[in-house]
């Protein structure tokens, strides 16, 4: 009996440790990004973000001149009886028998020798400048190491944020409205072609949107709406409709028949029943799809790339971020701050409405 209990305890320990490792693997990448976004430009480039945690690092306690020590960096050197070379001194440093650590800093000609000691330290030089620069559209001046000043334009994420909102809000609400009407029609009205049309909806669920891009781009060009928000709403409405209709149909068709019938007996029209009865009853399903679609539109890059184009006025936030990746892929202070800004709103939506999101996932896929 005792051995079984022991086994259980070990099993549960193993489960928890295994899961903890997986959770760490899933959270560390995002955590590293978040920490880095608050570090200064120089410290991001100089050391890994994990240095914000206490770690042992070498600190200079004294600076010596190689000439006074009688060292010639072009050949073998001897310090306190230890023979070494310039390369070794610079790369790893040497420790003399009395425990002193020597290191060469700088180049061969005008370098210096430092005595360093290991101690516990943290790199806490946090700043909000990265966010300031990414958010604003103004120019920023940098003093470079050689003293010259470099002017870098801000990335105007505030404007991109507003653009993303202008795209995402209607591109979420419009398909929901259109799909809810359609779902009600499919579930509670009778008309010729009802079955065939719904089969079409199911078939279109998996059609890759790549198929539609070239023809739709031509339509938008001839309508002269290419590059406008309206093009994005139309496109996202079209691409999101199959899933929206399917999800909402699954929900609306299972609402109790008696409730609807008693409303019809009271003389209510379809429109009134839909507005006053079906919509309020379907709020959980509507919310699930809304979160789905909002995250999808907010995070979309491909559709924006094609239908919004390259005008800086209308660029959405993912395009802005991709721009920095493309043009200044080494400016980690901007990339980390920018990436975190793109994630901010989806994360808030996600954490506050997680319950609905999970429900939507289950409703959409367990049947599908």
């Amino acid at each position: 009996m005792g051995s079984i209990q022991n086994q259980r305890r070990w099993g549960s320990l193993l489960v928890n440790i295994g899961l903890l490792l997986l959770v760490l693997f899933w959270t560390i990448p995002t955590f590293g990004l978040l920490v880095s976004s608050f570090r200064t430009r120089e410290s991001i480039q100089a050391s890994g973000w994990w240095n914000v945690f206490p770690h042992r690092a070498y600190e200079t306690v004294a600076t010596l001149s190689p000439a006074e020590m009688g060292l010639d960096p072009t050949g073998p050197m001897v310090i306190e009886g230890v023979e070494t070379t310039f390369e070794e001194m610079r790369k790893t440093g040497i420790t003399t028998p009395d425990g002193t650590f020597y290191r060469w800093v700088g180049n061969r000609r005008i370098g210096r020798v430092e005595i360093q000691e290991q101690s516990w330290t943290v790199d806490w030089d946090f700043t909000l400048d990265n966010y300031r620069q990414v958010l604003s559209g103004k120019n920023f001046e940098y003093k470079q190491p050689d003293g010259t000043i470099k002017v870098i334009p801000g990335d105007n994420f505030i404007s991109a944020f507003l653009n993303s909102l202008a795209v995402a809000v209607p591109a979420t609400v419009i398909p929901i409205l259109v799909a809810a009407f359609a779902a009600y029609g499919f579930a509670w009205m009778n008309f010729p072609g009802r079955r065939m049309l719904f089969i079409m909806v199911v078939a279109l669920l998996v059609v890759p949107l790549q198929l539609a891009l070239v023809p739709i781009l031509r339509d938008f060009r001839s309508l002269q709406i290419n590059g406008t928000f309206m093009a994005m709403w139309l496109a996202h409405t079209g691409f999101g409709l199959p899933l929206a209709t399917y999800l909402l149909f699954n929900y609306i068709s299972t609402l109790p028949r008696e409730t609807l019938e008693s409303a019809f007996i009271d003389g209510a029209s379809h429109f009134v029943v839909f507005r006053k009865l079906i919509l309020p009853l379907s709020v959980p399903a509507l919310a699930s799809f809304a979160i789905f679609q909002f995250l999808w539109v907010w995070n979309d890059y491909l559709v924006a790339l094609i239908f919004l184009g390259g005008s800086p006025e209308t660029k959405v936030i993912t395009q802005r971020l991709a721009d920095i990746v493309g043009s200044r892929g080494n400016d980690w202070h901007l990339l980390t701050a920018g990436a975190f800004l793109t994630m901010l709103l989806p994360m808030i939506v996600f954490f506050s409405l997680q319950r609905f999101f999970v429900r939507g996932l289950l409703a959409g896929s367990v049947k599908g």
Binding site: W26, I28, A166, P242, G338
Partner: protein
């Protein structure tokens, strides 16, 4: 007599009004929508105002359109109302689906039969039919684009990589998702762990690209590594590598991109598996344990068969997803270093090289790869009693 004609007259007026009012309402609504459209297209107002108008106009306009159409239909007699009202409800959705998904499939197929110039606009001119066909002859290439799709070096690379994406990406997503669902179910911090693993689903591919680019960041050998992976590798005595751009191990450098999508998608798989596992009757598991089965046997003999339906659903969804993968590759490597996939080739051919014929052929091949899933979905749908 007089009162009768007055009545008749007022009847006529009423009927005219009955007809004119809906038409007027529709026209007013359309004009209002056009004015909003023009305001938005001009785009000279401050940004926040444009955004506000965009939202009100976009959402309000659609709602108003439904309301007016329904209002018109409800003024008709009962017979017509019964016939037309369903189409007021379903019609807009059907029109959108046709325009944005169903018809483009045919149009893309049509485009794929032509070279980069595409079909000549209005090419079938009946009065000069010979001339029409002459203008067609140079552009119409039949199935040549498809031959190119299957012989082009970069396309072959893309196919190979997409197969890798499915074999490793989709499989590992399902396996890790299942593993986490089982572990979380027995752990003492189920909610927190599930939230943490689910979170990447809220992150865009571009954002995830930045996160992982930072992890893969490489520095020369003699300076401190700021990328986590290379720091670990150097700490263990290895040499830093530019992981996704490490051509020496091609095609295995694709795995460093695939990891990103696994990281993004496992939350989805885990959520579905977790719900399915909780649906297994406790007696069934208890009966297995009483019969002396160990936990591993219970997992493979009871749990897996019981949730097989969910495993199939998750697998097909993830396979479709990995077939279409674009953003991650585009942002991380741009398809260089042997990481091209079908969707990046599609984008490059259609929009960078502006060869819409070739690009369309790639899109059609992508669709053909997905058709089995579509057929499976339809079969499942038919088996349901719901319709």
């Amino acid at each position: 007599m007089q009162s009768e004609s007055a009545q008749e007259q007022s009847g006529l007026v009423a009927r005219l009004l009955n007809l004119a009012l809906p038409v007027a309402a529709l026209i007013i609504a359309l004009v209002a929508m056009y004015l909003g459209f023009d305001f938005l297209r001009a785009g000279s107002a401050p940004k926040w105002l444009i955004v506000l108008v965009a939202i009100v106009w976009g959402v309000g306009g659609v709602a108003a359109l439904y309301w007016i159409l329904n209002w018109i239909v409800e003024r008709m007699n009962l017979k017509w109302r019964g016939r037309l009202q369903p189409f007021v409800f379903v019609g807009p959705a059907i029109v959108m689906l046709m325009w944005f998904l169903a018809v483009p499939v045919l149009r893309t197929f049509w485009l794929s039969l032509f070279n980069r110039d595409g079909p000549p606009i209005g090419w079938l001119n009946w009065s000069d039919i010979g001339g029409s066909f002459a203008s067609l002859s140079g552009r119409f290439v039949g199935l040549d684009n498809y031959v190119a799709v299957f012989t082009d070096r970069l396309m072959r690379e893309a196919f190979r990589n997409n197969i890798m994406w499915i074999v490793f990406g989709a499989t590992l997503t399902v396996i890790v998702g299942l593993l986490i669902a089982v572990l979380a179910d027995r752990s003492s911090f189920e909610r927190v762990s599930k939230s943490a693993i689910f979170l990447p689903m809220a992150i865009s591919f571009v954002g995830a690209g930045v996160i992982w680019n930072f992890i893969y960041e490489v520095r020369p050998v003699d300076v401190p590594q700021i990328g986590l992976l290379n720091a670990v590798v150097v700490g263990l005595g290895g040499k830093p590598q530019p992981w996704p751009a490490w051509t020496a191990i091609s095609p295995w450098n694709n795995l460093f991109l695939i990891v990103i999508v696994i990281w993004l998608q496992v939350g989805y798989a885990m959520t579905l598996f977790s719900a399915a596992l909780k649906g297994i009757p406790a007696d069934l598991l208890e009966a297995g344990r009483v019969d002396g089965a160990n936990e591993i046997q219970i997992f493979f003999r009871i749990m897996v068969p019981y949730i097989m339906g969910t495993i199939i659903t998750v697998s097909t969804t993830v396979v479709i997803f990995t077939l279409k993968v674009f953003d991650v590759v585009w942002v991380m490597t741009g398809g260089q270093f042997g990481t091209e996939v079908i969707a990046t080739q599609f984008y490059r051919q259609s929009f960078t090289a502006r060869n819409s014929g070739y690009g369309s052929a790639i899109a059609i091949v992508l669709l053909i790869a997905i058709v089995p899933v579509m057929i499976y979905n339809l079969k499942q749908f038919r088996e349901q009693e719901a319709f």
